[in-house]
C-alpha cells in the first residue's frame, strides 16, 4: 500500500512523458476548456512543447473557429481564457444570478482613465480628474474591475493600475483592442 502511494506521488510530480511537441486547435480548445483560470501563453507552449509564436498562431485560429460558437477567446496580455459569448450574457446571468450593481459617474470616468491609459498611477488619474481618487479606485479594485499591475519605476515606486479579466467580461470585450476609440485622443496627442 505504501509503495503504491509512493508511486502515485512520483507519477503526479513528474510528467509521465515528454511534451508531444505538437498542438492542434481542438486540443488547445480542450485545454482551455478544462482550465478554470486564465492560462499564460507561455504555459501552453511549455505544456505542448511548442514555440510561443506557434501558440499565438493557434490562438488566432481558435478565435476564428469560435466565432460560430457560444464561446469566445478572452485575451488579456499574456493570458487567455475561454468565456461565453456576448449573446449568451443575459442567459448566463440568469443562471449564476449575477448582478453587477450600478457604477457611479465617478467610478465610470475613473475606470475609463484606467482602461485607456493603463498601466497608470493614481497620480495620473487624479491629475486628469482633478480630485482625490483613492476611494473610487479602491472601490473599483474591490469589484475586481481594476487590478494592480506592479509598480512604476518613478520616485516612490507608485502602484500601477490596469483593468483585469473581470473588466473585459463585464463590458463584453474579448480584448482591450475592442475598446471604443477615443476620438479626441488623437487630436490631443497631436497637440502635445
Amino acid at each position: 500500500m505504501a509503495d503504491e502511494l509512493g508511486d502515485l506521488t512520483d507519477a503526479a510530480q513528474q510528467p509521465p512523458e515528454p511534451p508531444p511537441g505538437e498542438l492542434s486547435v481542438s486540443q488547445l480548445e480542450a485545454l482551455l476548456f478544462v482550465a478554470e483560470r486564465p492560462l499564460a501563453r507561455r504555459e501552453i507552449a511549455t505544456l505542448a512543447g511548442i514555440e510561443r509564436d506557434q501558440v499565438d498562431a493557434l490562438l488566432g485560429d481558435l478565435e476564428v473557429v469560435l466565432r460560430e460558437r457560444g464561446l469566445r477567446l478572452l485575451s488579456a496580455g499574456e493570458h487567455v481564457q475561454l468565456v461565453t459569448s456576448p449573446e449568451a450574457g443575459r442567459l448566463i446571468a440568469r443562471y449564476v444570478g449575477a448582478d453587477g450593481g450600478r457604477l457611479s459617474p465617478a467610478a465610470l470616468e475613473t475606470l475609463a482613465i484606467v482602461a485607456y491609459r493603463q498601466p497608470v498611477t493614481r497620480a495620473v488619474i487624479e491629475r486628469i480628474r482633478g480630485v482625490d481618487s483613492d476611494y473610487v479606485l479602491r472601490s473599483l479594485m474591490h469589484r475586481r474591475l481594476v487590478v494592480e499591475q506592479g509598480r512604476a519605476d518613478s520616485v516612490g515606486r507608485p502602484f500601477l493600475y490596469g483593468t483585469g479579466f473581470d473588466f473585459l467580461e463585464r463590458f463584453g470585450l474579448t480584448s482591450l483592442d475592442e475598446l471604443p476609440l477615443l476620438e479626441p485622443e488623437a487630436a490631443l496627442r497631436l497637440d502635445e
Binding site: 461565453t84 456576448p86 446571468a93 475609463a112 480628474r129 474579448t174 477615443l182 476620438e183 497637440d191
Partner: protein, 283 residues
C-alpha cells in the same frame, strides 16, 4: 462639430446608466434637493466647470473660461460643509479661473510672455485639462452603455456556478400560482381518467337453493326429524328464510324429506325419507 447636439461615441448615445447632469443654481434652489445631485455633479472641480459650460451650451474649445469664474464661485459657495475634504481641489480650479479672468481684464505687455516662456497660458492649460477630462467622462458613459447591454462574458467557474445554484440565485419563478389552479387540474385529471368502480357498500349476497339444501341435509344428519322454525330461529334475513323454504320444497319434491304441518302458521316438521334411488333400483 456638425452635430452640436448629444455627444456620441461610435454612434452610441452616451446617456443611459449615467445620471444626467441636472442641477439648478436659480432662485428655486433648494439645498435639501440638491444634496444628492451634488454628489454626482460636484464629484470633481473639472466636472463642475464642465457642467457649467454645458449648461450654458458653450463650446469648451472656445469659451472664455474667465467668464465662468463668477458662476463657479457661486456654485462653490453652495457646497455643504460636509464636503470640505474635497473643497481644496475646487478652490484650486477656482483660483485658476480668477487668475484667468484677472489676466483677461488687465492689459498685458507683450514682453513678459517671452520672459516666462516656460509658463503655459493658464487658460489654455485649464482648457486642455477640461477637454481631456471630458474625453474620459464621455468614455466612461460609453462604457456604461456597453455594460448595460448585458452582453457580459462568463468564464467557466464551476464552484461559483454551484454556489449560485445552492444559494438559490435562480431565475425568478414568476408570480405565485393560484391554489384554484391545483383544484382545476385535479378536476381535469378526474375527467380524463374514468373513475374506478367504487367497492359496493352492501355485498350482494347470493343465496342459492343448493346452499340452503345443504343446510337442511346437515340438520337431517344431526337429527332425522326437525322443526323448520327451530332451524331458522336465529335467521333474521327473510330472503334466507324464503330460500330455505324453497329448498325444503325442492327436497320434498325430490322425496328426500316429508313435510308436515298440523295447522296454518304451525311448526313445520321435516322428516328424512329413505333414499328414493335405492328403492327405484330395487323396484
Amino acid at each position: 462639430m456638425a452635430t452640436a447636439g448629444a455627444p456620441t461615441t461610435a454612434g452610441v448615445p452616451v446617456t443611459s446608466d449615467v445620471t444626467p447632469v441636472e442641477f439648478s443654481f436659480g432662485a428655486g434652489h433648494r439645498p435639501e434637493d440638491s444634496t444628492h445631485v451634488r454628489t454626482d455633479v460636484f464629484d470633481g472641480p473639472l466636472a463642475l466647470l464642465l457642467a457649467l459650460i454645458e449648461q450654458r451650451q458653450l463650446d469648451v474649445l472656445t469659451v472664455k473660461l474667465g467668464d465662468l469664474a463668477g458662476a463657479y464661485l457661486d456654485a462653490l459657495a453652495r457646497i455643504e460643509h460636509g464636503r470640505l475634504g474635497l473643497l481644496s481641489s475646487f478652490v484650486s480650479v477656482c483660483a485658476q479661473l480668477i487668475l484667468i479672468k484677472t489676466r483677461a481684464l488687465l492689459p498685458r505687455a507683450p514682453q513678459p510672455v517671452a520672459a516666462t516662456e516656460t509658463e503655459a497660458d493658464p487658460e489654455e492649460e485649464l482648457r486642455r485639462r477640461l477637454i481631456e477630462y471630458r474625453m474620459f467622462r464621455d468614455a466612461g458613459r460609453s462604457l456604461a452603455d456597453r455594460r448595460a447591454l448585458g452582453a457580459w462574458l462568463y468564464h467557466r467557474e464551476a464552484a461559483a456556478a454551484l454556489a449560485a445554484g445552492r444559494s438559490g440565485a435562480r431565475p425568478d419563478p414568476g408570480p405565485a400560482l393560484d391554489p384554484q389552479t391545483l383544484a382545476d387540474a385535479l378536476l381535469a385529471s378526474v375527467r380524463l381518467v374514468p373513475p374506478l368502480p367504487s367497492p359496493p357498500e352492501v355485498l350482494a349476497r347470493t343465496i342459492t337453493l343448493e346452499e340452503r339444501a345443504a343446510v337442511i341435509r346437515a340438520a337431517l344428519r344431526r337429527a332425522p326429524v326437525f322443526v323448520l322454525q327451530e332451524l331458522l330461529r336465529d335467521v333474521t334475513d327473510r330472503v334466507v328464510v324464503a330460500v330455505t323454504f324453497l329448498a325444503l320444497l325442492e327436497l320434498a319434491k325430490g322425496r328426500e324429506v316429508a313435510l308436515a304441518q298440523a295447522e296454518p302458521w304451525g311448526p313445520i316438521t321435516v322428516t328424512q325419507l329413505p333414499p328414493v334411488p335405492a328403492q327405484d333400483a330395487d323396484g
